[in-house]
Symmetry: C2
Subunit: 338 residues, 2 copies
DNA sequence: CTTGCTTTCCGAAACGTTTCGGGTATAAAA
DNA sequence: TTTTATACCCGAAACGTTTCGGAAAGCAAG
């Protein structure tokens, strides 16, 4: 591959001049610039990004750090959609984009700082970390800018983009109550996940503001997994026939509940109303279609990417951004007739 | 961030020795190696990959080139799954992985060669290119190793991994015929896509080997899109009530056909048997569930990644690999009762 | 003629590695 | 004692850029 030196030799100008010509500096004569340009094109020159990054000490690449990238996450298209958003935004901004996948165990081998340093990442957007993952703290304390999706944390070089989690979750529970439901269960996900805690808070607060006593037995744990949710829903529904509605912290778990109802011969929504969270692709294809709180991961990805390069560029921008969720009404909920 | 020079200064050994110690050369004393190791750890040293790549002239990174990475592709989880496969395999092999997304129009701005050279990619795995995309030819002729998924092309530094496309497609059509269907339509995708041509060939060959006359009117074009497929299926089904089965070149188009039947008040599979191709996630959730030819993109991703690094490493490996498809029997097909 | 300003160019150092070709002890062999 | 082998270490060049600090030439002003 042609290098600066080749162009220099072929055009008769020094390496310095060639570099300056190609980079649009103005202390180079129009004629020589044209000459250099044409020679460069002829030789098929294109700059070696590695060398450039080495001396400029910035790589023009952003990392997209994601935990537990595995085949199963296919069901949860959230990650893929934010990835698309990040990718689109970065390519518009002329940044590269490397995918960093990690697991909780891998984080012990290599520190977050090392990971960034090795690759000279200018910034990173992070998705899906757990609250107690070592990388979370490291990322916040690190000098390299990062923005988190769905984990509100502020810091010098840290930003986040999230949705109106609490409000939209409250809206979902209020919706059930307005339809006459009183015995409403809550299917929680991994307790350490940030999103779990706020969805749980929403549930509790709305119940309280409607003077419905909290019943700890109504709070289940499905660990954000379909089968786990089914397994825990089966005995619960059997033992609590008075429950007419359930709010799930994720659609995937809602699907599990749906399976449980089928096995028990219950009808949805007549016997049990279900509302999920995420608006995954499947939610509009299952039968009955799933009422759910829709997130917009693509937009979140775009905003996260945009914010991180703004921080990298030293622009003085707000370090938080919101993308509004939306309650999407479908077939899995109906009025309480009991 | 700590550099080799820092470790050198702090440990009292030369940069050369430090480098050699850290890289496991054997001409360094055990004691000094230990000393250097501990100093390096203390300083949190980790090598600058950029600098290393620059001198070694290989970056230990593989590109994953994908066309038309857009939100819509979410429905077609094929890409995402191969991505997971590639990612998993490469991380096991200690290679980096950058995602390169391109569109047909973007390919005019920057040549494939430039793209590889800039980033010093050691190799690339390519997915979803169209037969007439400029990058395809460039990739084959390029010196940097590449392996294509689902496009059989051989060359010095080129390999591919594909599935037994033709056989499995034939199997699907034979299945319909064995169930007594004679008037079988074919929903084709983008005519320029490689997969389209082979699925079409399979259809024609099986029809012929069963002495069923080819009827050009039975070949539709749904452009691999749900709505396009629906729009073309609607009038077709209306005008050809004798057709009892349809073989679709993709599940997404099969879903379109399914919609069309609903609008026409036809029952699947009683009035029309449908078989798709791809086994996308949705196919097991729609009602009726979709009989389809299942691909295994995750395995293809893994094999592709493994093959490309083998080629990079100069190993003498076969430049083709196969992952067998499988006909998955579900509800959307039944015996012809007419 | 000297001074100073523009315009246009370039040499050399720097970024953080790897690696080639030695060099200097110490120990073993002659 | 001198030679040879071995074990350990290091200087310097190289990879392909960018950029700092000038330098040469031309020209206007004093």
């Amino acid at each position: 591959m042609a290098t600066l030196k080749d162009v220099s030799r072929a055009s008769g100008f020094s390496i310095t001049t060639v570099s300056r010509a190609l980079n649009g500096y103005d202390d180079v004569n129009k004629e020589t610039r044209d000459k250099i340009m044409s020679v460069a094109k002829e030789l098929g020159y294109s700059p070696n990004i590695l060398a450039r990054s080495l001396v400029k000490k910035q790589s023009k690449t952003i990392g997209f750090l994601v935990t537990d990238l595995k085949r199963e996450s296919v069901k949860d298209n959230f990650m893929f959609e934010t990835l698309c958003g990040v990718s689109d935004e970065l390519s518009e901004l002329d940044y590269e984009f490397v995918l960093l996948s990690t697991t909780t165990s891998k984080q012990k081998n290599k520190t977050y700082g090392q990971m960034c340093a090795e690759r000279q990442l200018d910034g990173v957007v992070i998705q899906g970390l757990k609250r107690d993952d070592p990388y979370l703290l490291e990322a916040i304390e690190s000098k390299v800018p990062c923005v988190l999706v769905d984990i509100p944390v502020e810091g010098e070089n840290t930003g986040y983009v999230t949705s109106n989690q609490l409000d939209s979750a409250k809206q979902a529970v209020r919706y059930l109550i307005r339809l006459g439901h009183r015995h409403i269960a809550f299917m929680n996900g991994a307790p350490h996940a940030y999103v779990s805690t706020v969805r749980y808070d929403a549930y509790r607060q709305v119940m309280q503001e409607n003077d419905i006593d909290a019943n700890d037995a109504y709070v289940l744990n499905g660990d954000f997994e379909e089968t786990a949710a089914k397994d825990v829903a089966l005995p619960f529904l059997l033992n609590h026939p008075e429950v007419t509605a359930i709010f799930c912290a994720s659609d995937v778990m809602a699907l599990g509940v749906l399976q449980a109802t089928r096995e028990l011969g219950l009808n949805v929504p007549e016997d049990l109303s279900i509302v999920g969270f995420d608006n995954i692709l499947l939610s509009q294809y299952v039968s009955p279609t799933l009422t759910t709180v829709g997130q917009r991961p693509y937009e979140m990805g775009r905003k996260a990417a945009a914010m991180v390069v703004d921080i990298v560029d030293g622009k003085d921008v707000p370090h938080e951004a919101f993308v509004n969720n939306q309650l999407i009404l479908r077939e899995s909920v109906t009025k309480n007739r009991r």
